[in-house]
Subunit: 291 residues, 2 copies
């Protein structure tokens, strides 16, 4: 196997700006970076992503993977990111077939959506095969929620980003394998997809966590990566719910503290923890949301 040639062009994820608070005091505040990065696929302009820029090569590879423009890492010869020109030059081993046709349909997905999910992805859903034996226990879920809560993230410093993570689980606990943040959760999940290829990590035995909502787009991408268990601090949309039901994915939403809601795929969930003494209220609060 020929090794993929990569730049290493990560940039600082936050900048500090002076702001003024309700008392009139000047407060230095961290805000996340947001940079345009235009992907050129074999010298042809494909798309411009707005990104934090902390993992641009994994992001670009994952974008191509999740858009199904390449079907394995071996097809990619090089990814060169240059922030002078805000460009990511991708070269494939052989030309990408039917590129015009495959990028003709634009789907602007929900919320923190991908923006462009090129058409046809839904059609491929029936070919997705997940591990029927993949399970998640209540203790492993709590372990994941606690790890995310205490992770030294960009979010803690600057807010206004979304995180996606990949975990390995046992019946008792979980261990963090990957964590990416970006100004859009679509970029964060694409970065996970890219890194999975780069590190030869399979999705079938992993659990996926996102700080963002589980919309159709997120569920479709996770399904393509073979992920059978998706966890979110946030909620689920109708189409995310429908796709998960159809493919057999377990969706756990509203996961904070010891609270959660199991939306779909109940057969993968194993209750092995005592019920909590006090249940936090279920309705979301407006006060501290960040999106």
């Amino acid at each position: 196997m020929k090794r993929l040639l990569l730049s290493h062009a990560a940039i600082a994820p936050t900048v500090s700006v002076p702001t003024q608070n309700e008392r009139g005091d000047t407060v230095e505040t961290h805000i996340p970076g947001e940079h345009p990065l235009t992907i050129y696929l074999n010298k042809r302009e494909l798309v411009t992503l707005m990104t934090l820029g902390s993992a641009p090569e994994a992001l670009v590879l994952g974008y191509l993977r999740n858009q199904r423009l390449v079907s394995s890492m071996d097809e990619v010869e090089s990814i060169q990111v240059d922030w002078e020109t805000n460009a990511a030059a991708v070269k494939t081993v052989v030309p990408v077939k039917r590129m015009q046709e495959r990028t003709a349909h634009r789907i602007v997905t929900t919320g923190c959506g991908q923006g462009t999910l090129f058409g046809g992805l839904m059609d491929d859903l029936d070919t997705v095969s997940l591990d029927p034996n993949m399970k998640i226990t209540q203790l492993a879920l709590y372990s994941i929620v606690e790890m995310i809560r205490t992770y030294p993230s960009i979010y803690r410093q600057a807010g206004s980003v979304h995180g996606c993570a990949l975990f390995e689980v046992t019946t008792e606990a979980a261990s963090l394998k990957m964590f990416f943040e970006d100004v859009g959760r679509h970029n964060a999940v694409d970065s996970i997809a890219g890194r999975m290829w780069l590190d030869d990590v399979q999705g079938r035995d992993k659990v996926f966590y996102t700080t963002g909502r589980l919309t159709s787009e997120m569920v479709i991408k996770a399904a393509q990566m073979g992920l059978a268990v998706l966890i979110s601090r946030s909620g689920v949309t109708q189409m995310g719910y429908q796709v998960a039901n159809r493919v057999g994915i377990t969706l756990l939403g509203r996961c904070t503290g010891r609270h959660f809601l199991l939306y779909t795929g109940k057969e993968r969930f194993v209750a092995n923890a005592l019920p909590p003494a006090i249940t936090p209220r279920e309705s979301p609060s407006r006060t501290t949301s960040d999106a």
Copy 2:
């Protein structure tokens, strides 16, 4: 002026699904709808939006406005939304010029980004003119934050949506003129833009509120609508900050309770309230965010 012909195809914004909580109890939970809506501009497929579907005609009109594919409502003859086929058929009075060229560049914006902001929007920023006399007082800001907090929104029922609102302000208070929610804040802001045209509402003397982050895309769209004051419960990204600075927009973020941060355009802000006794902590909390 010829009256625009519109369908009225709003659909119910939420559905109820059975979920299971941490105690193993079954809980009927509201989740927001998420439906594909493909826009056909003069019979040519333009884009598919994923939407809640509660204001599809305003959304489609605002999308065309914010993408600058039409420059006034008079150019549009009809918008017909049909949920049987998930299609919005738009007819313009005269053909849209250079449509191929104008939709060739895709920018996938951040976070809850628009997805496709067709290229060239940044280039037009220098033509934006805002009202230099537009101001926002601290009391009006607090009035807005309180009104949003108590508004009977879809968010309160189902979470997982973003809201955008338009306010009129005095030195003492504010009044709500429009409020739209959707599965993406980009759709919510586009719906505002569409409704503004339909009701002949100008942006120059209005204040814009969003539950989502103030990214470049949100700031660019607001600038195009003539809005000089933008308020968010959430934060600001670097490019949102830069665009606001360049155009002269006032950004107020992290607005919860009596707390806020004034990022840019300090000259438009009038402190006319006593400082609060206790300042809420400034770092965002992970626990109840929804995106």
